[in-house]
Amino acid sequence: MDNSKRYDRLLDRYKSGDVDRRSFLGLIGAAGLAYGVSTPFAKNALSAVKEVRFDGWGGVVSEAFRKHAFDPFTKATGVNVVDGTFGSGDEYISRVKASQNGEYNIAHLSGVFDYARYHELGLTSTLNEDNIPNLKNVIPKLVDVFRGVTDGKLSCVPFDYGTTGIAYNRKHISDEEMKEKGAKILLDERLKGKIGGWSDWRTRIWYAALQTGQDPNNATDMDAIWAAIRTHRDLLLKYWGSGAELMSLLAEEEIYVTEAWSGRVFALQEQGHDIGYMDPPNGFGWQECLFVLKGSPMEECEQLLNFMLSSEASIAVAEGQNYPPALDPAKVDLGKKIPTLPAFDPTGTLSGLTFANSDYWNGNQQAWSKEFGRIQKGY
């Protein structure tokens, strides 16, 4: 029975004298109140399946997602994609922790270590891979590493990969000097006050391991690592906290050298800035995935993931954000621009990149992030 019918019946009862005037008006008032209170929430609940929230890294990356994936997806399916941004994976996980189930849906996560953290916090979903046929075109090595964390199942699909190498201003640092000094350029006294650094504890420790000749995935001398981080801090102008800030500091020549994300440096080069990029031996390789949080509308999310893994969308986004897609070059023709991007592996084996060992990094996360926080502030 709909509400109009209910009202008509109540009106009939009032007219025929079954209900007195006070009760009639009271019931109408109560119905109005119930409708007024429930409507905003009911609207949200009903519209949830028409909307998926996506959070990513902002800047040129978000622009590429919006233009090449979300808008065409909404046009094709009618499902709206609301996109938000975050400055770091830590910031995002904190927001998710404070949220209600289903408030956040899909995130563009970096690194397997973050995926493992979500799994440990019980925030992973289980994807129905039958709904994502384009997953078969993804580089198998990228998929397998995620399956290893979540007992053979998937809560995400790999989407792209890149490196955190070293960006340098060619007006002040030559390619030869970079080749000679590698990661140690970030500890060069000559560049004091013109050095930058990402305020991410993992990246700082990774580069300190390279600077002290250690394996970044199995450092044995942590004292040497903290000492290198302190030396870098004392030569530093500023720790940057986002891709946009990184690009601004390099473009405005506030800093001449910093570790940097490969795609952002490529974007600067495209804009005409004479910025070089180098991946030192054992440089920081990472893969990014589209992760679906527990409590999300799964069918719509899977639909979006499949759309984004289609070669058209995936290549267009990759060309926009300047990171190679997770699609296997042996199975999909990736066009002309992608093979020119930094970190691109034409073999699809990714054997040349060193990725973070999630067990090792997550096992030390609590102690190391805290220690770095202190050193960062002068201790």
Binding site: E91, K97, G193, K238, G363, Q366, K370, K377
Partner: protein
């Protein structure tokens, strides 16, 4: 008797919506934070409920937190002093100007129409290596290479003064505006100079406004984290940055809660002392 009871209840009934709002939106969340501060963070980032003093012992005994707190109070004090020195003449000028007071007050309000973050970031375009100031100095031939002006304690204080100066001016303005101008004339007619009448009459009478502005500026400066994040260098972190890091970066909400309560306690003590000597009425006058 029944009427008296009813009359006694009336103020509470009238106040109840405001009291309920304060209780549910301020007191209850703060109580949550208090409870959180006694919990622990587990290795994977989830919280372990219970009653542990670990966070409090760490916050109270670790010199790292104490040093950053002192540095924060120092930066807030310098900012407040600069706001007072810059704000007093401006407020005095507005209060004593004839005719264009409303327009001058509107100019004072203009910065509030722009986001605080945007206003803070605007200094990057002014003081940056290729910013307006360096470009001008280079063009005039005063310098040959750009000066490194950004990302130090001075720029943090500059950003805070830029943000807080209007609060100081408004409070002093309200105070000076309320002083009878004929008192200064009377002092002059009794032989004092203009400067003496200002020092002996106007300044003492405007002190409550200065103190209210000072309190506001100090509390807001000590609680900020955006300005040091945008304009500060590696050693310019303030106490609120520690709270941000504990909660966001380290996912250690219990420690972040303890840190935030320490800041609330320190600033709350300051407000208490202010209230003891000046009362909150002047502050309300300045804000209204």
């Amino acid at each position: 008797m029944a009427r008296e009871t009813r009359e006694a209840r009336q103020p509470w009934l009238l106040l109840s919506p405001a009291l309920a709002t304060i209780f549910f939106l301020l007191v209850v969340p703060v109580l949550f934070v208090v409870v959180y501060s006694f919990w622990l963070r587990t290795a994977n980032g989830s919280d372990q409920p219970g009653f542990y003093l670990t966070n409090w012992i760490e916050v109270v005994t670790d010199p790292f937190y104490r040093d950053i707190l002192f540095n924060t109070l120092k930066i807030a004090a310098v900012t407040t002093l600069l706001c007072a020195v810059l704000g007093y003449p401006t407020a005095y000028f507005i209060a004593r100007s004839r005719g264009n007071k409303a327009m001058l007050l509107m100019f004072l309000m203009l910065p509030f129409w722009i986001s605080y973050i945007i206003r803070t970031m605007s200094w990057i375009n002014i003081l940056g290596v290729s910013g307006a100031l360096n470009s001008m100095l280079l063009a005039l031939g005063i310098i040959e290479t750009p000066l490194q002006l950004l990302y130090n304690e001075a720029t943090v204080i500059l950003g805070l003064v830029h943000f807080l100066l209007p609060f100081m001016i408004l409070n002093i303005y309200v105070s000076v505006e309320g002083i009878d101008e004929t008192l200064e004339d009377a002092a002059c007619s009794l032989g004092s100079t203009r400067w003496q009448s200002f020092l002996e009459v106007t300044l003492p009478l405007s002190l409550p406004g200065l103190a209210a502005g000072g309190l506001l500026c100090f509390v807001l400066a000590a609680g900020t984290y955006i300005t040091p994040l945008v304009l500060g260098g590696p050693r310019d972190a303030m106490f609120a940055n520690l709270v941000f890091e504990a909660i966001i970066t380290q996912l250690d909400w219990p420690l972040g809660s303890a840190l935030s309560l320490v800041l609330v306690a320190v600033l709350g003590t300051l407000v208490f002392v202010y209230n003891r000597f000046f009362g909150m009425a002047q502050l309300m006058k300045g804000l209204s």
